[in-house]
Amino acid sequence: MRVKAILTALCALCAATCAFAAEPVRLGAVLSVTGPASFLGEPEKNTILMEVDKINAAGGVLGRPVEVVILDDETDVNKAVLAVDRLIKKENVAAILGPTTSGNSLAVMGKAAAAKIPLISCSAAEKITKPVNPYIFKVAPSDRLAVARILTHAKAKGYKKLAILTVSDGFGQAGREVLKELVPAEGFELVADEVFGPKDTDMTAQLTKIQGASPDAVICWGTNPGPAVVAKNRVQLGIKTPLYMSHGVASKKFIELAGEAAEGLLLPAGKITAADKLPDTDKEKALLVGYAKAYDERFKAPVSTFGGHGYDSLHLAVKAIANAGSDKPEAIRDALEKIQNFPGIGGIFSFTPEDHAGLGPDAFIMLGIDKGDWVIVGQ
């Protein structure tokens, strides 16, 4: 008898709390918080945690709080697949943010699409949104845009012969493919094509070989720490040939690692990298500076473009939920496809049924490194 009374009381209590606290909107995220891609995944996770708090402090979405279940895939493709399975089948999320890396995104896309759950990848590979899969979107700008930015600069400088030096991982391979296509297509001559391993610690052999082909400029495509080693080796060998880096090292961390060897290097980067140096006329400046400041205060770490991918994927999902007035996966998908001129950290997003990448060529600016700080050398 007593048991029954307690049970009734419990049920009543439960019903009461449920009525007061609206059920949260549940989103999932699969990020490479540890492992080789943690330099991407960790700022993404931090940003999502920070922005969820901000959104909830401002009343959430549809009058309900937002909850993001973040799973770490350890930069491992099997773990990414398991994590997406868990989000779909166990956590019942309405949409998925991430994965962080292109490989993991390509591996899990099929699962999300089959379950009809929209997925907003934080990675850059073109294959993710080309051909367009109705449920798959991405926020990281394609490598093509970054390469185009470099080549425009090189053309203006009058360079003819280019050499490329790329890292042999997913990021470097994607860059290398685009470079090998665009460098000849834009009228340059590709005189050397070298690679280095992601854990390699000495690139003097490659640089010596490249020097033998006497290029006008070298383009190095990789993520820390490889490119910093390349920069140091270049100085060590006394090479004066101009060196372009990729947006993969667009953070203060690179300048710190390469030290004096970073002086004079050039790279394409998202506006967030040098937000405080943007002209005041830039429409995005206030948003970017605000985000950079908040991130710096909370995590005591310099802001990077990568965290911006977390910001963009989360805010796009929340925006779509608000626009749709529902957190049904199908409705989120439809609303995502209609989003126009949404100001994000990576640029202005406009999705269409034919374009699920949403960014234009203005996503990148050209930066130089001078006295250990960024200078904008081309908008």
Partner: protein, 324 residues
């Protein structure tokens, strides 16, 4: 009545299969099935590797390469050249087998740590080829668009159907290994593990037996590879690197050397452990390492040895209980 050995094995295997097939109905959520499928794939490789390591006493730190060769061969054959899936699978397993056969001759002459180094080097060379032969393998970003497994007009589209298939395959591999070890070949392998000289003086062809078991274990790894490729529809070189080879060895040792059931347990345990440790968030890696160290410290014969000791102790307790 006592069953003959082969019959005993068959009975154990049948029971095992029934148990495996019943598992999905006890799981609270279909997500756990994905873990079981990956666990079963790893178990197939671990059982094969244990034939080599536990019974014949030959180390391999390169088995991830055979797993990868199987996966890439079927992926390229089916997705690129449009061959039917069974043909792709046959090519995958054959490639792993043939490569193992070629590598075995010079490699198995080496002993101990030199053998470990040679297999390790072989594994690294293969994984570099997966990474660098971009035109063929898709390079580091992986190979997309591998068709999901379909045999004889039936597509294993749901995870449950794929799991059932894996249960049957794993049971078959376990039965094969149990019977092999009870056979003349199995006894010869164990003999050469204890002393190659003694085995040779008894007329065992050392080189041929070593080569046979090496090729068999590579073929099983290749089989797991093709099943993995057609399950995930996506493969990347990172899954077939040195780290995975080491993990396989850990599965075998943690499960228990020279125990077929131990390898199954070790593989399932190490596959499920990281998922179970998700609750620990950041420190999960520390807990994982600690569990690994403590298990080996306190269960020197692995999970299999630990379980059999436990069951012996329980039996003794029961007997004491009966007596009192």
């Amino acid at each position: 009545m006592k069953l003959p050995v082969i019959g005993q094995n068959a009975a154990q295997a049948a029971l095992f299969l029934l148990l495996l097939l019943a598992v999905p109905y006890t799981l609270p959520n279909e997500y756990y099935l994905s873990i079981c499928i990956l666990g079963a794939l790893n178990a197939v490789i671990a059982v094969g590797l244990n034939l080599l390591m536990g019974y014949a006493g030959q180390v391999s730190l390169g088995h991830a390469a055979f797993y990868g060769l199987g996966a890439y061969a079927t992926a390229i054959a089916t997705a690129r050249f449009g061959l039917p899936i069974p043909a792709g699978m046959a090519i995958g397993v054959s490639l792993a087998t043939v490569v193992a056969w070629v590598v075995a001759a010079p490699t198995l002459k080496l002993k101990g740590h030199y053998l470990a180094m040679a297999t390790l080097g072989f594994g690294i060379i293969v994984s570099i080829v997966f990474n660098e032969a971009v035109d063929l393998t898709g390079g580091p970003s992986g190979y997309v668009g591998i068709p999901r497994l379909a045999l004889f007009g039936y597509e294993f589209a749901s995870d449950h159907s794929y799991y059932n298939l894996m249960a049957v395959v794993l049971t078959f591999v376990v039965l094969l290994s149990l019977n092999l070890m009870k056979s003349r070949t199995g006894r010869a392998l164990r003999a050469l593990h204890v002393s190659e000289k003694a085995a040779a003086s008894l007329g065992v062809d050392i080189a041929a037996h070593k080569r046979f078991v090496f090729v068999l274990s590579a073929a099983l790894a290749g089989l797991a590879g093709v099943l993995y490729a057609h399950y995930l529809s996506f493969i990347a070189p990172a899954s077939f690197g040195f780290g995975f080879s080491v993990q396989l060895v850990v599965m075998v040792v943690l499960g228990g050397m020279a125990s077929v059931w131990g390898s199954v347990a070790g593989a399932l345990f190490l596959t499920a452990l990281p998922e179970a440790l998700r609750e620990f968030e950041d420190i999960d890696i520390l807990v994982y390492g600690a569990i690994l160290v403590l298990t080996i410290m306190f269960l020197p014969d692995g999970l299999a040895g630990g379980l059999s000791r436990l069951s012996r102790r329980l039996r003794r307790l029961r007997r004491q209980g009966d007596a009192s």
